[in-house]
Symmetry: C2
Subunit: 361 residues, 2 copies
């Protein structure tokens, strides 16, 4: 079947492009001796997680226990839960995961560490202390607090201090002054590792790495592991950040033109429930995606099930016409779809369930 014969809207992955993306990142990590632990939040599919492992990834990152459960069920056996855990129900579920896989958890509080300790039971869970090097996301401020938490972790049954985790958005390629920020990050990180050593703690794992910063990871001193997610598919953001070219974008959403009643406009059968309403994070442009093969067409507005395309004067998009659109942000778009279709050279060759979609707990 040709891709444009799929019922729409449909999440479409070009498998050739995807495999090139996987290979490129794996090669980079091999070259620099970095462990690759891709974030599965982008694809939410055990089938793709296995491809990442086969192409060189050491294990996987997940954000929620529900994602870990899906991956473990499918036989993935080395997981990093990059999310703090709280409460009895989550501790119970985490304990089940720890019984079936090598498990690492990242956290930034003793409260959460106690819940993970409870989950561990007779098993050992490795802990990464999350440190905030200036992005103001999760993480403790660098210095004494992470050391204090690491010591507390060593005292808790079933836990082992494994190292530190941070989010290196500081060296995001579209930020001005990136090299100064990189310098500053390196200083802070090296000081933190010193602080750990001063307390007799060795950070065996130093985990960073998002897709936009991934190919700069070798410039961060002491890094042992990266956790990129989006690189498997790429999206409008990574194109706009200059991290990839449009032809390296493996993901698109196939839509159909369903209304042309209003002049100069075409409406496709996907909106915020198909693409997500994430604005473009890269750069200053608006809009919700790139309409492939129609560079002059602007995806300027959405309702829940409608995508609005502004047409240049000479362009006509007839009713029923299929259009492939690259979304702003792959991860949130994938999460809205139950299934995906893999294509090679325009032919549909594979269909799979996005099994960890919607696993927000």
């Amino acid at each position: 079947m040709h891709v444009e014969e799929l019922e729409t809207p449909a999440l479409v992955i070009d498998l050739d492009v995807m495999e090139q993306n996987l290979g490129r990142m794996a090669d980079y990590c091999r070259q620099w001796g970095l462990r690759l632990r891709p974030h599965s939040k982008t694809h939410k599919s055990p089938w793709l997680a296995k491809q990442q492992v086969e192409s060189g990834a050491r294990g996987l990152t997940v954000a929620k226990i529900g994602e870990a459960e899906v991956m473990v069920e499918a036989g993935l056996d080395d997981l990093l839960l990059a999310y703090p855990v709280f409460g009895e129900p989550k501790a119970r579920r985490l304990g089940e995961v720890a019984r079936k896989a090598r498990l690492t958890v990242a956290l930034d509080s003793e409260d959460s560490a106690r819940w993970v300790s409870r989950a561990a039971g007779s098993h050992t869970i490795d802990i990464l202390v999350e440190v905030d090097f200036g992005m103001r996301r999760c993480g403790l401020p660098p210095g004494e607090e992470p050391v204090r938490l690491a010591k507390a972790i060593q005292r808790l049954p079933g836990l082992r201090f494994e190292g530190l985790l941070f989010y290196p958005g500081n060296i995001h390629p579209d930020l001005e002054g990136s090299s100064e920020r990189l310098e500053e990050l390196n200083q802070r990180l090296s000081r933190q590792l010193e602080d750990f050593r001063g307390a007799g703690l060795e950070a065996e794992t130093v985990s960073g790495g998002s897709t936009p910063s991934a190919f700069h990871s070798h410039r961060i001193g002491g890094l042992t592991e990266i956790r990129p997610g989006t690189y498997i598919f790429n999206d409008r953001n990574t194109i706009e950040w200059g991290v990839c070219k449009q032809e390296q974008c493996a993901l698109s959403i196939l839509t159909t033109v369903v209304s042309t009643g209003v002049g100069g406009q075409a409406i496709v059968d996907g909106g915020s429930k198909t693409f997500s309403s994430d604005p473009l994070a890269a750069g200053t442009q608006g809009g919700y995606g790139i309409v492939k093969a129609h560079p002059g067409v602007e995806f300027f507005r959405m309702n829940e099930e409608h995508g609005y395309l502004k047409l240049p004067a000479e362009t006509k998009l007839e009713l029923g016409r299929p259009l492939q659109i690259i979304p702003n942000h792959a991860c949130v778009a994938v999460n809205l779809h139950e299934r995906a279709w893999g294509v090679r050279q325009g032919r549909v060759v594979k269909e799979w369930e996005i099994a960890a979609r919607g696993k927000i707990r």
Copy 2:
């Protein structure tokens, strides 16, 4: 179980408030002789659809055939698909729905009408012609085109011209000059109904009505039916539009504080994959929701699984603390959840599957 003992993030519906919302709209429609056909896109649940019917709704509106399939499967037997249909797979599925329920379809092109005719087989499908009275969504420009389409519909086997459908966003309560717009809408609508009559066509159904405009529906001459969705729950938008008070908002998302490492900030365990990244559509404020019981706390930023709260100087939100947050837009938030929990007086009394969630085809 008390609501705050639920594992988070969890979609929580206050059933007492919801029933009041249902009753209020049903009473309004009874008072003015309007048919109530609620849009199920907001709740995506057959259980709630049935409550709407029991409290006075005539039938339901759906946006996608996948939603219709879920509703028909659950025994709902009078559906309006307010979405144009294209292509063989959709025609086949629509035919199945038409065999099981009274079906009306809204569309704005003869191309789509032909697909619906194909779906009808030996059954009859009622058709509403969608007209654009200035909102530039779907719909034909008023005048001759809708008449031409209505005539084409009458010639197609299995179809019956039932009337017209439009989206009355023109009289949105937050738009300045709403009464001038209402006047203009009334003129256009009455001219269109004249045009139909002039061609020997009687529009038995004139379908309008979204939640923000719902309680102004009696001011639109000739309207027979309204299709509000959000009114069942309400959200930050409807509060900001002045359509309801905060205590009339039945829906919230229960979250847990999972990180307080960064000063002046608390992070909860839900972000754009839990709330959606829909900005506030009403007014000019930013932010992603109302943190109940903490009016000074600002939900100012999101990542996929993180919600960032800015805390006033004197406020501390301790780790593990449950927080209920009203999202900007209920419909897109509900679509991200697999299940919902119903509460009365703070006690969990019911759990249900959001069965039509993610049915984008």
